[in-house]
Subunit: 290 residues, 2 copies
DNA sequence: AGATCCATCTCGCCG
DNA sequence: CGGCGAGGTGGATCT
């Protein structure tokens, strides 16, 4: 009984299933021809068409067409779903407050309704996030530059929290902003805001700013240069070739350069050694489609 | 025949349906107990659980749990779906290149598979976007300030395209950055970048910057003040009460203030007249569920 | 393909 | 609840 399905149901029969499913916390999918109207942070209307509608027990609703990753219309978790039959349409309404938002789906034809029993307790483990990059930096601060000493993460400033705060070999304060992927102008601006804020805390100490990311766009590099900020290329996860055992002095892409007079404009963009052909799946499968 | 469903199918039967559906461009939903592994821009793995998987004919794949608006795992449009049966699992693999990414879903149990015929050709009409705000400003430049004369939209600068570029009553260049909703520090930084870029084009002309949005956070307001930039409160869509006919001098929230010596620190945050009780739906419906 | 920016961004965290 | 920033952001647009 984990999935209950009605094919081409009457609106009334579909309504009954929706009542039950909304009541006991099941997930619901509807497929059929419908229109969608939304009013809230913005306003939208969508003419008739065939769509897949998903109602989750946490109050989420999604309206998907046959294209794109994002739903054409939706409502976030925490909304209240209601269904009704009126004017010959099965209507699903989802509402919330703060902000006040309403989504209305009106089906003129329902091809299928299904209610699912869902029990999912398994957390996603993800690698390659900014936090992984931070761990990498803390594990081997020389990746930022020789002699860098981290002192705090998420250090609060007037402009917001700094990813990694520390000192360089000369004892100057260093603000490090981390990005898990190639950075553009906004990251440069963000780093600048942090450096300015810290600079007011430590006047005349020559606060430095370092953007750490896999790579940087040209314009962002210019912005950094204009503002006397540096860039260092580091991947969020260590390449396979790298020696990542305890005593890591072989990781030294950034070395030498005693950094004597502030703000060197950053080592160059890494060569990005690219994808090694590690296709570990021998596709001698039983059956294969498309 | 718009929806073909198999209940608790064998993996092999499910595979046949997937083959057909992938072949003739139908949308597919699968529900069952599965694990998910991803490798690409990052890497992730998800242990076994009941999930709803949606495969779109454009190459999108979505893995949804019973919570949240976003899929736990996904693959964007343009990917290639393949299905197979191996080691007692129904496997769905979705791949693409640039960047190289692979998603694997392995079902140990399939409760339901459905293939849908989808024909959707109806465009979403949405109001309240930044573009609406821009039209509003161009329609009535006095919303920015008395005497403002727009000269270009999306005007290119060394720092990127400026939303609205023009002149104030004194002939000084004005950079306007538009935001459809309340702005934080990043918008202030963005405006600053543009102003600096334009300032290099027009040295000694006292280029001004105006951030136009419904409201602003405290920190962003400080940043604007530090940089000599202004803020003007404007909603992306006109309030119902407003007179939006041709001769608009009733809209004048921003008036007077000849702006003689640059950079007034912005009129205050609008009062946000809030939601009027325009509940046009009398809910004397036939049937209503939860 | 890359760069830039908007988005009903969503999401989590923290005050 | 609002502010703030990350995200496998997605998506559009332009070069």
């Amino acid at each position: 009984m984990t999935a209950t399905t009605l094919h081409r149901p009457t609106h009334r029969d579909a309504l009954y299933l929706l009542e039950e499913a909304f009541g006991d916390g099941r997930m619901v999918t509807l497929f059929g021809r419908c229109t969608v109207d939304y009013d809230g942070r913005a306003t939208s209307s969508l003419g008739p068409g065939d769509r897949l509608v998903v109602c989750k027990p946490d109050g989420t609703i999604l309206v998907h067409t046959d294209e794109k990753r994002k739903p054409v219309n939706w409502q976030p978790p925490g909304c209240t779903h209601r269904a009704s039959v009126r004017d010959g349409h099965l209507r699903v309404r989802s509402e919330r407050s703060t902000p006040t938002e309403r989504l209305d789906v009106a089906f003129e034809r329902i091809d299928q309704v299904t209610a699912y029993e869902v029990t999912d307790r398994s957390d996603l483990r993800l690698q390659g996030s900014e936090e992984d990059l931070r761990r990498r930096i803390l594990d081997d601060p020389a990746l930022v530059e020789e002699g860098f000493v981290p002192q705090a993460t998420e250090r609060e400033t007037a402009a917001g929290p700094v990813d990694v705060f520390g000192e360089d070999a000369a004892g100057r304060p260093v603000v490090v902003e981390l990005k898990r992927r190639r950075v553009g102008p906004s990251a440069a601006g963000q780093l600048q805001r942090y450096v300015e804020a810290v600079d007011e805390e430590f006047p005349d100490e020559g606060v430095r700013g370092v953007l750490v990311a896999p790579s940087v766009t040209d314009r962002a590099r210019e912005l950094l240069a204009e503002r006397g900020l540096s860039f260092v290329a580091v991947e969020p996860v260590a390449d396979e070739g790298d020696d990542e055992s305890g005593d890591g002095d072989s990781v030294a892409k950034a070395e030498g350069d005693g950094g004597d007079d502030g703000a060197d404009a950053g080592r160059d963009d890494g060569p990005d050694a690219g994808d090694d052909a590690a296709d570990e799946s021998d596709d001698a499968a039983d059956d294969t489609a498309e």
